[in-house]
Every structure is written in C-alpha cells, then in structure tokens.
Symmetry: C2
Subunit: 109 residues, 2 copies
Amino acid sequence: MIMKTETKPQETCPVKITIDLISGKWKPNILYYLGEDTQRFGQLQRKIPSISRRVLTLQLKELERDYLIQRKAYLSPLKVEYSLTQEGRSLIPILISMKQWGEVYLASR
Amino acid sequence: MIMKTETKPQETCPVKITIDLISGKWKPNILYYLGEDTQRFGQLQRKIPSISRRVLTLQLKELERDYLIQRKAYLSPLKVEYSLTQEGRSLIPILISMKQWGEVYLASR
DNA sequence: CCGCATCCCGTCTGATACTG
DNA sequence: CAGTATCAGACGGGATGCGG
C-alpha cells in the first residue's frame, strides 16, 4: 500500500513525533497566526480569547523548545514577539492539508 | 501568508479536528498497519506489542466511531477484522507527509 | 479470540491570584 | 506587558482480572 516505504513505526515513529509537536490544544491556532505574521504575546491572547495566559505561555514555550517558533524580547517598548522558524514554516503545507481534509470531513457529517 | 484561505481557526478548527482524530497514542501505528492491509485484532496486537488489549480496543473504537476504520465480526472462525474506510484511506497522504517531515526533523537533531 | 470492568496514576488544562 | 505560582479537575493510558 501507499504508505509503505521501508521503516516501520516504532517508539520513535516519525508520524507520532510530528503529531506530538503540533497537538497541543491551541498549537494549531498559534501556528496559524504566526504563519500569517509575527505576533506579540498580547496579540495572540486577543486572537485566541479562550486561552489563558498560563496555557498560552506553556504552549509557546513548548513550541520554542521544539524549534518551531522563535521568541524575541524587547525592553523598550516592553514587548515579546513570536515568529515561525524555518522548521515551523516547513510545517505549514502539512497544516494546510490537514485543514482541507478537516473541512471535507466536517462537511460530510 | 500561505495558510490563509478565508476561514479562521475557531472552536471547530479543522486542523485541530484532523489532529484529534489521529493523535491517540497508537492511532498512527494502527492506521499504518491497516493501510497495508486488513488486520485482525490479534494481528494488530502482535504488531504493536507494547499496546494492551484494553487500549487497543479503545483506540479501535474511537477510530470506528470517527469513520476512519470499519469493523467486521465473524462467527466461525471467531474473529474480527478491521480495515480502513474511504475516509481513512483519504488520510494516508497526510500521514505520509507527516512521516517524511518527522524524519527530516529527527535527522536534523 | 476478542473485549469489558475496575483501579490507578501521570499529564494536560483551566481558574485565580501575584510579579518584574 | 508578559509572564509565574498554586490548586484543582478532566482525561488518556497502563495493569490486571473476568467473560462470552
């Protein structure tokens, strides 16, 4: 079948790795907005109103730890900006496929 | 940016929907093997040794509930077979992209 | 052969309040 | 403005045992 290349999924299944990196509750949204443009912490907060500061912080930290986004802090004016890294950007086509698949899926139910 | 079509991610973000459907701990593996061929319960168990019967059952039920796989029970011989549905099959290209992305990601660390 | 029931535990997330 | 601290609840998943 199509999916057969040669490696079997294992403890370090690449598919699982990819999923885990983006499957935080709000990570798709965050990546989406960062895909549009660099965003400040507060901007993300306003664009995703139901997320709490605490969780937004956590998700951003994880994304940063995983090299998908970059954090830049400024002192005056006091602000922090987040943007996608190369790796993060390379993920976007996959997010788009998932978005399209999800729309079809939703439409058929 | 690329990801921009017109819909914003919301409570029912299509990306999130898609991720949720496949982000069970063993779902990628299960889908992978079902992508190769129809599999019996016991076959899946042997191919994914570290999964318990309980969890395998749960994951299969969820995948079935979500229309990604089909369950067929036979009485003699006593067995149950699982296979991908149309919807499940349509997900495979995405899984492949994620697999490839994950491999590149792993290689670069 | 296949699956359900029960118990248990770690992780993730939310609410709320406090800080450089 | 952009976090941190603490507490509490929900949930996913592991271990084990019973059952059709």
